[in-house]
Structure formats: structure tokens, C-alpha cells
């Protein structure tokens, strides 16, 4: 199928290359194993998720020899994410430094983290959502225009993967011609996706690029996120503080991998899930008010990310009575928690009509996903745009039926679709 440049590496190859290290094609359905292990020790398991499936852990390079735990129950996972002064993000800081840089939201702890977060949160607040929205809808229509007359395409690579990176790039002031390059760098910066040196090189290139954009926006502000961020400031007892250039770069390098992979994979999972359930899909065409519930239930039932990055135990502590020595790394297993039968009735059933209840899909505690509102907006808009323009959406009978796969990152193998 499509390759972004003659003889070069297409976007499908990039996606496969960066996700094969994290379990794509190796683990298709991790949930039965979670169900089996969850009842033991309150759902606190004494290994990493990768070890649980007999795989090497690409995220452990920076912390060789550290004792590992992973949570599988809702209660244990919520506990770890809430008690952020005991289970700190210092572990993530060391693990992600090469990819996110020295200053990152995910790699910092309160009170510094909170100050940083207040500087960037307005970029994801109500006012800014209008700005995000203004990039999303035209891009979705443009993509659909490109394939609507064909009657069939792989929506995963021609649609899902083509808009979150575009939206982020536009809000950050990246030129259209640089989009493919930008997406490639973002892919390499995802946690565990590439060897440290490769991730670092990608980050340095993005930083150089963004420094130029920031300098331009300082001279001539535009209606975009980067201009909004430059103006960002917080008031503290000793006066007002403007965001620093290092903080902007830190946010960009954190935002890119977080926003580029998760949203499109989640949309792909949603589409496969719906096409496997033609009756539900038919109902959705008729009643669009169900779209938000479908999006939320997909995030619970098969979210795009298995676990929040590991937390570092800053002291000897316990989770559900299990002793956790100081210096251990604990993975808060948000996906496993979202299938905990103590929290959700019939957790393995995809049911958008279940009672509304929060999930851990966007994490929990002080590091709750800062882009959650943008992700929801994008997922709803992308699903609605397809339903608006592609009637009778179904699996392409000429292509093999896709399956969901992956461990750290979850995704469909493809979304071969036909319509009309």
C-alpha cells in the first residue's frame, strides 16, 4: 500500500517497527492472563508486564536490576496513582530523559509538576478546545475526500493515523511539508518504541525545529497553541512567572508521543470493535448521541495504553498488604484495572450502555492526562465524520479480518473497510 516516499519507509512500517518492540504481533489478548492473576495478592503482581508475558522490557534500560511490580486490580492501581508522593514519577524521569528531555510534565513531581501543569493546562481548557476543534474537522473532511469515492480503504493508515499528528503539528506551527518527518520523530519518542540513542536523536531534531518556530512566534504571534504557550504565566507569592523555553520544549516532546500514538490507535480499536458489531453500528448511525458512550466504553474495554509508566517507590510501603521495598518500580496497570470485576460488572463485555462510571483510561491522580479533553474531542469528531460520509460501513470482504494486538500499546492490525 502507501509509502510516504519512493523507496523510503512508509507510515505503516514506522508504526510496525516502533510497536513490535512493545508487543504488537506477539500478544493479542492480555486480558485472560490478567483475570487469572488479579485475584492473588489484591492484584499486586511481582513482575513487570513484559515479564508477565515472557518478553524483555524495553523500558527497563535505565533501571537495571530494580525490583518490579505491576497492579492488576482497580483498587491497587488507583492507590498507586493517588499516592503520588510515595509512588513518584522520578522513575519515569530517568527512563524518559532521552526522549522527553530534562524538563517534562510526566517526569516531574509536585510541587514543580503542579506549577508546570498550571502553565500548560489552559492550552487544553475550554477556550483552547475551540482552537483544537478548528484544526480537527477540516482535516477529517480532507482525509475522507481523498478516499470516499474508492468505496474501500484501510482506515487505520489512511484516516486514523493521519489526523492526531496533523492536529498537533498545526497547533505547534509545523509546516505541512514536514508532517511525515514530524510523525516519524514522534513515533520514535514514544516510551519503549526505540533504543535510547534513536529517541534522543529524534528529540534533539524536534527541539531544533521548535526553537525556530518559537522564535518566529515571539516576533509574530499567531492563532495557535505555541503562541498561547509563549504567553502563559503563573502568579506566585514572589510575582508572575512566564513559561520558559525549556518548559515549552519539554511539553512539546512529551505531548508529541503521548498524543500522536494514543488517539489514532484508540480510534482504530473503536472502528474494528464497531464493525464487529453491525447491529450496534447501525444503531449508532441512527442515534449519534451514543457516540460519547461508545468512545468511553472503548477506552475502558480496550484502551490504547496498557499501563501508566512505572512509579518509583520513594519509601518502604505497602499496596493491598503487599510489601513494596523502597526503590521498586510499580506499573499502574490501568487497562487491567478497567477490567476488574469488582469495579465493572461483566468487565470483558463491550457494552456502551453500561452505567456511567469513571475509568482509569486517562490515568488518575495529579498526573491525569492533560490532553484527555482534546483526545475525547478528536475521537468523537473522527467517528462522527465517518458516520456522516461513509454509509453502511463494514469490513472489506476482500481483506483478512483484522484483530487487536499489542501489549504496552494496543492497536488493530488494520481497519480494512468498505462502504456504500
Amino acid at each position: 500500500m502507501s509509502s510516504t516516499s519512493e523507496g523510503g519507509v512508509g507510515r505503516q512500517d514506522w508504526e510496525r517497527k516502533t510497536t513490535s518492540r512493545t508487543g504488537a504481533g506477539v500478544v493479542d489478548d492480555p486480558y485472560p492472563r490478567f483475570a487469572e492473576l488479579r485475584p492473588t495478592n489484591g492484584g499486586v503482581h511481582d513482575s513487570s508486564f513484559f515479564a508477565m508475558f515472557g518478553m524483555g522490557d524495553p523500558t527497563s534500560e535505565a533501571w537495571k536490576g530494580a525490583q518490579r511490580f505491576a497492579t492488576l486490580s482497580y483498587a491497587a492501581t488507583e492507590h498507586v496513582l493517588r499516592e503520588n508522593t510515595i509512588f513518584t514519577n522520578a522513575g519515569i524521569r530517568r527512563m524518559t530523559q532521552h526522549a522527553f528531555g530534562p524538563v517534562s510534565l510526566m517526569g516531574s513531581d509536585d510541587p514543580d509538576h503542579r506549577k508546570f501543569r498550571l502553565l500548560v493546562q489552559p492550552a487544553f481548557g475550554k477556550k483552547a478546545l475551540g482552537l483544537w476543534q478548528s484544526w480537527v474537522k477540516p482535516r477529517l473532511d480532507e482525509l475522507i475526500d481523498g478516499f470516499v469515492d474508492k468505496g474501500r480503504t484501510d482506515l487505520y493508515f489512511e484516516y486514523c493515523s493521519q489526523f492526531p499528528v496533523f492536529v498537533i503539528a498545526m497547533t505547534l506551527g509545523v509546516a505541512r511539508d514536514d508532517l511525515d518527518w514530524f510523525q516519524e520523530q514522534a513515533g520514535l519518542m514514544q516510551i519503549g518504541a526505540a533504543p535510547a540513542e534513536q529517541a534522543r536523536a529524534a528529540r534533539l531534531e524536534v527541539e531544533d525545529y521548535m526553537r525556530k518556530v518559537i522564535a518566529e512566534r515571539r516576533r509574530a504571534p499567531q492563532d495557535d497553541l505555541i503562541s498561547l504557550l509563549i504567553e502563559s504565566e503563573i502568579t506566585e507569592p514572589d510575582g508572575k512567572h512566564k513559561i520558559t523555553e525549556e518548559q515549552i520544549l519539554g511539553l512539546v516532546c512529551n505531548l508529541l508521543p503521548a498524543g500522536v500514538g494514543t488517539t489514532f490507535r484508540s480510534l482504530g480499536i473503536t472502528l474494528v470493535t464497531l464493525m464487529q458489531r453491525p447491529d450496534l453500528l447501525a444503531r449508532l448511525y441512527e442515534d449519534r448521541s451514543l457516540v460519547p458512550a461508545v468512545v468511553e466504553e472503548t477506552l475502558r474495554w480496550n484502551g490504547p495504553v496498557l499501563t501508566s509508566p512505572f512509579r518509583l517507590a520513594a519509601e518502604d510501603t505497602e499496596i493491598m498488604g503487599v510489601k513494596i521495598p523502597k526503590g521498586s518500580l510499580v506499573e499502574p496497570g490501568i487497562a487491567a484495572a478497567n477490567r476488574d470485576p469488582l469495579q465493572f460488572e461483566n468487565p470483558d463485555v463491550f457494552d456502551p450502555f453500561r452505567p456511567v462510571k469513571p475509568t482509569l483510561a486517562f490515568s488518575y491522580g495529579p498526573h491525569f492526562c492533560v490532553g484527555g479533553q482534546v483526545a475525547r474531542l478528536e475521537l468523537r469528531a473522527a467517528l462522527n465524520a465517518l458516520l456522516d460520509r461513509l454509509p453502511n460501513l463494514r469490513f472489506d470482504p476482500n481483506e483478512p479480518e483484522p484483530r487487536l494486538t499489542g501489549l504496552l500499546y494496543r492497536m488493530p492490525t488494520a481497519v480494512p473497510a468498505a462502504w456504500g
Binding site: 493546562q121 477556550k127 469513571p358
Partner: protein, 74 residues
């Protein structure tokens, strides 16, 4: 406004200093909570959400930024 007395008599207090804009409260009790331009929670003055919905929103807040108190309770 960081405090509101709900029609049922309970007092709702929010801590914007903790809010992470998860939209949990705004989806569970949309008449009582909203998020503003800053991406932080704000109380709406009306509030026809049932008391149970407000209590539920407080219980589910990922950063415990909402307190619901019954007047006269210790």
C-alpha cells in the same frame, strides 16, 4: 466562587489548586460543575443535579478536589 450550598443543603467546596480537568465532575453533575478557560473546575450557581450525583462526582474526582459536607455534621 469556590463554595456552593446545594438545594439539598449540603455545602460543596472545590479546590482549583488541585484540579486536573479530568471532566469527571462535569460529566456526572453538569448543572453543578463546569471547566473554564484555564482548564480548571468552577461551580455553577444553580444546580438541579441530585445530591447523590454531586456526592458521586466528589467521590470519583481523581485528585479529591471536591468536598461535600452536610451542615451540622461533625
Amino acid at each position: 466562587m469556590d463554595t456552593l450550598v446545594h438545594p439539598s443543603g449540603v455545602r460543596i467546596t472545590i479546590d482549583r489548586g488541585r484540579c486536573v480537568c479530568s471532566e469527571t465532575c462535569t460529566s456526572m453533575a453538569p448543572q453543578t460543575f463546569e471547566t473554564d478557560d484555564e482548564g480548571l473546575v468552577r461551580l455553577l450557581d444553580g444546580g438541579s443535579d441530585p445530591e447523590a450525583a454531586v456526592r458521586n462526582a466528589a467521590a470519583c474526582c481523581p485528585v479529591q478536589a471536591i468536598r461535600v459536607e452536610t451542615p451540622g455534621a461533625p
